[in-house]
């Protein structure tokens, strides 16, 4: 049984919470006492409001909104699912980015009466920016348009135009009613003209995460040195295979030092193994006594090496209430590598409705901007679109420790900034 992580995105009244509630309820993932607590709150009695299954905090209940990313879990005989529920308000781009960063699939929810609206576009483009490959267009509230096939077809066509225009992966459109339970888990007799899978059937059959396609990447998180009489000289580099796979005997280069060695052993739970594949957590031992510490990358020497650079261009989602201004100093955390960084220039702001470029002096909370970054120590980077694991980073406030931004590496050429003419790389996904 494998795992699928998906994010649900929709506007405030699209019925997102009801949809999640319906998935949990119809897949029999809600326990009786949780239902009882909901019924107790249901002042008027009547049917249980499934949306309440996902509204966690008191402030949310008081205001009837979702203020933060919540996680829900359910399992069918075929799969375990992790649902990331991100709020739909315009101002919560940061939560949407957070949720999308760990999702294999996005469900974009629209109200059948409204069709594709500005927020649909915004959510789709943000999910695409974060590299999500699988999209589901869930056309909800079909009961309120008399289950009309023409309404569904028009919305599906509108959405296909959007994805074509931006060269996004094609979406699977599914008509449903979360409130009535039509076509969420069980097929619906109200939708005789629809012959495709129900939402859950589709979620069960979509391919899951595959980290093995990208080049081998491994970063040292922690150095294991028992220094016991039995193991006086043992040095094991503990970390997760971020992408690709490694094998015993492979030549590797340590970055940033550039020293080369060979993998003497790969250990999983103290057993030596021949190969290790992402996302396994392993311990790697090297044949030579080279200097390796936390944050260093072990990569195959040669053409598959990442770019080692102190200068890069990146897309940032700015997540702090203090704006970003050019020249600002901060910390960059590239997984287990941490170093000082500065943002010499903000190139432009991205319009998340059109992917157009807007001139800007500062980045404000929830802005998506393209910037140049300089780092104090060199980092071993890949482009985000080639490798999510090593093309991603966060920016951190040195004093408060707060996470300021999510970063996607767009250009990481060490000559990029010194080349005579450096045309900005066209913005694409």
């Amino acid at each position: 049984m494998d795992l699928l992580r998906f994010i649900t995105c929709g506007s405030v009244d699209d019925g997102k919470s009801t949809l999640i509630g319906r998935l949990l309820y119809d897949s029999e993932s809600v326990s009786l006492d949780v239902l009882a607590a909901l019924e107790k709150r249901q002042a008027s009695g009547g049917v249980v409001d499934l949306a309440l299954l996902t509204d966690g905090l008191r402030a949310e209940r008081e205001q009837g909104i979702t203020i933060d990313v919540a996680y829900k879990y359910f399992t069918t005989p075929r799969r375990k699912f992790i649902i990331t529920d991100a709020p739909g308000h315009v101002q919560y781009t940061r939560n949407m980015v957070t949720g999308a960063s760990n999702a294999d699939l996005a469900i974009v929810l629209v109200d059948a009466r409204q069709g594709v609206i500005e927020q649909t576009r915004r959510h789709t483009l943000i999910a695409a920016l974060l590299g999500i490959r699988h999209f589901v267009l869930a056309v909800n509230k079909m009961d309120l348009v008399n289950y009309d096939e023409a309404v569904f077809a028009r919305i599906a066509t509108d959405y296909a135009e959007l994805t074509n225009h931006f060269h996004l992966p094609a979406a699977t459109a599914i008509p449903l009613s979360a409130l009535q339970g039509d076509n969420v888990v069980k097929p619906s007799q109200h939708l005789p003209w629809y012959t495709g899978p129900s939402l859950l059937e589709h979620l069960e059959s979509v391919p899951g995460a595959v980290e093995t396609a990208a080049a081998p990447r491994f970063q040292v998180q922690y150095v294991i040195r028992p220094q016991t009489p039995e193991l006086p000289d043992y040095r094991g580099y503990a970390g997760q295979v971020l992408s690709g796979s490694y094998r015993r005997g492979q030549r590797v280069r340590v970055l940033p030092s550039g020293l080369e060695s060979e993998i003497e052993a790969i250990e999983v739970n103290q057993q030596e193994v021949e190969t290790a594949t992402a996302p396994q957590a392993v311990v790697i031992r090297l044949r030579d006594d080279v200097d390796v510490s936390r944050g260093d990358a072990l990569v195959p020497a040669g053409p598959e090496e990442p770019t080692l650079t102190r200068e890069l261009e990146a897309t940032l989602c700015w997540m702090s209430e203090q704006p970003l201004w050019p020249g600002r100093k901060l910390l960059i955390q590239h997984h287990s590598a941490l170093t000082k960084a500065a943002v010499p220039s903000i190139l432009y702001k991205v319009n998340v409705q059109t992917f157009g470029r807007i001139h800007t002096e500062q980045a404000q909370l929830n802005d998506i901007v393209r910037v140049r970054l300089k780092t104090a120590l060199p980092l071993a980077l890949d482009l985000y679109q080639e490798n999510h694991a090593t093309g991603s980073f966060i920016l951190v406030d040195e004093l408060t420790g707060d996470t300021l931004a999510a970063g996607l590496v767009e250009a990481a050429n060490s000559y990029y900034f010194t080349a005579p003419i450096a045309p900005p790389v066209a913005f694409s996904i």
Binding site: G56, I224, G236
Partner: protein, 302 residues
């Protein structure tokens, strides 16, 4: 090797990655060990993360004085087998030192008082990170908490000030006085934990399995194991039943469920059929108010 991993492999890899981030980012971390199945699973994950080295943190147990004796025995045995340092601090001592009032009532729960002892032990050893076995499926407030959860010097959780948590990058940078609670098995469900226990063949305290026990029948119909801490009346109904515990908290506020389950496999079958959530079935203290967990977390609870 196949390119698709079982979901338990993915959950395990994620948890090991998180534990190693704690080791890499913090000066003085600790693993909060309750003797419950979730913290037992954490010790297995820590072995996978750090062997053949020692754990880069001690095990810390906050002893309420109302613990099940079987669990305390298991705790000492496990710490000895692992060869890792165990620090025990007692709620009893905090009550004396801080002149706290003992909770009264028929079923006195020291659960709220654990927070005081926890904050004391964090201060005593200057722990900057405390690893715990909480899971997001347990409760609605937990569902919204980050894996690295920054707390102020009073241990308080502020849901509106949470840091966004992106990809698998964990930001543990804190200011003096703050500390981080870390939940490596956030994404596991109760069923996942049991399936992992089965797969890894992890021994558990006996009270998790069906056994005969003398219990008080509560007005809700729940069963509470008889112990010296309960204040019983003449009209209380005392019964002997075949029961097991789904969670292991204070003996005064953790109800038993009727079960013949003798093996982990039996328990998994029980769970697949069970229609009542873990906390709902067994925790008396969460039923007080619907925002019970949110309030306690805001006050420094796990």
């Amino acid at each position: 090797m196949s390119t698709t991993f079982d979901y338990l492999d993915r959950l395990e890899a994620e948890a090991i990655h998180i534990l190693r981030e704690v080791a890499g980012q913090f000066e003085r971390p600790a693993l909060l060990f309750s003797g419950g199945k979730d913290s037992i699973v954490l010790t297995r994950l820590a072995e996978k993360a750090f062997r053949p080295g020692r754990f880069p943190f001690p095990l810390v147990h906050v002893d309420t004085g109302h613990n099940f004796p079987e669990v305390l025995a298991y705790r000492d045995l496990l710490a000895a087998q692992l060869g890792e340092k165990l620090i025990v601090r007692k709620v009893e001592d905090t009550i004396k030192r801080q002149r706290l009032r003992e909770p009264g009532g028929k079923f006195p729960s020291r659960n709220p008082l654990q927070t005081y002892t926890l904050l004391e032990v964090i201060e005593e050893f200057e722990f900057d990170a405390c690893i715990g076995g909480a899971r997001r499926d347990e409760e609605k407030a937990r569902a919204k908490e980050r894996i690295f959860s920054v707390r102020d010097e009073f241990g308080q959780w502020d849901p509106k000030r949470q840091r966004p948590e992106l990809w698998n990058i964990y930001n543990g940078r804190i200011q003096k006085g703050e500390n981080v609670r870390v939940f490596p098995i956030s994404n596991w469900t109760e069923l996942d934990v049991w399936r992992y226990i089965q797969r890894e063949n992890i021994p558990l305290p006996d009270i998790y399995f069906g056994h005969e026990r003398t219990c008080v029948v509560l007005p809700s119909g729940q069963l509470l194991g008889l112990s010296e801490h309960l204040q019983l009346d003449a009209e209380d109904e005392i019964v002997t039943r075949q029961v097991r515990f789904r969670t292991v908290g204070d003996s005064t506020c953790t109800a038993a469920v009727e079960s013949d389950a003798a093996t982990v496999e039996d328990i998994i079958q029980d769970l697949l059929l069970a229609k009542v959530s873990e906390r709902g079935a067994t925790r008396l203290d969460d039923n007080i108010s619907e925002a019970g967990m949110e309030d306690r977390k805001r006050n420094g609870y796990f």
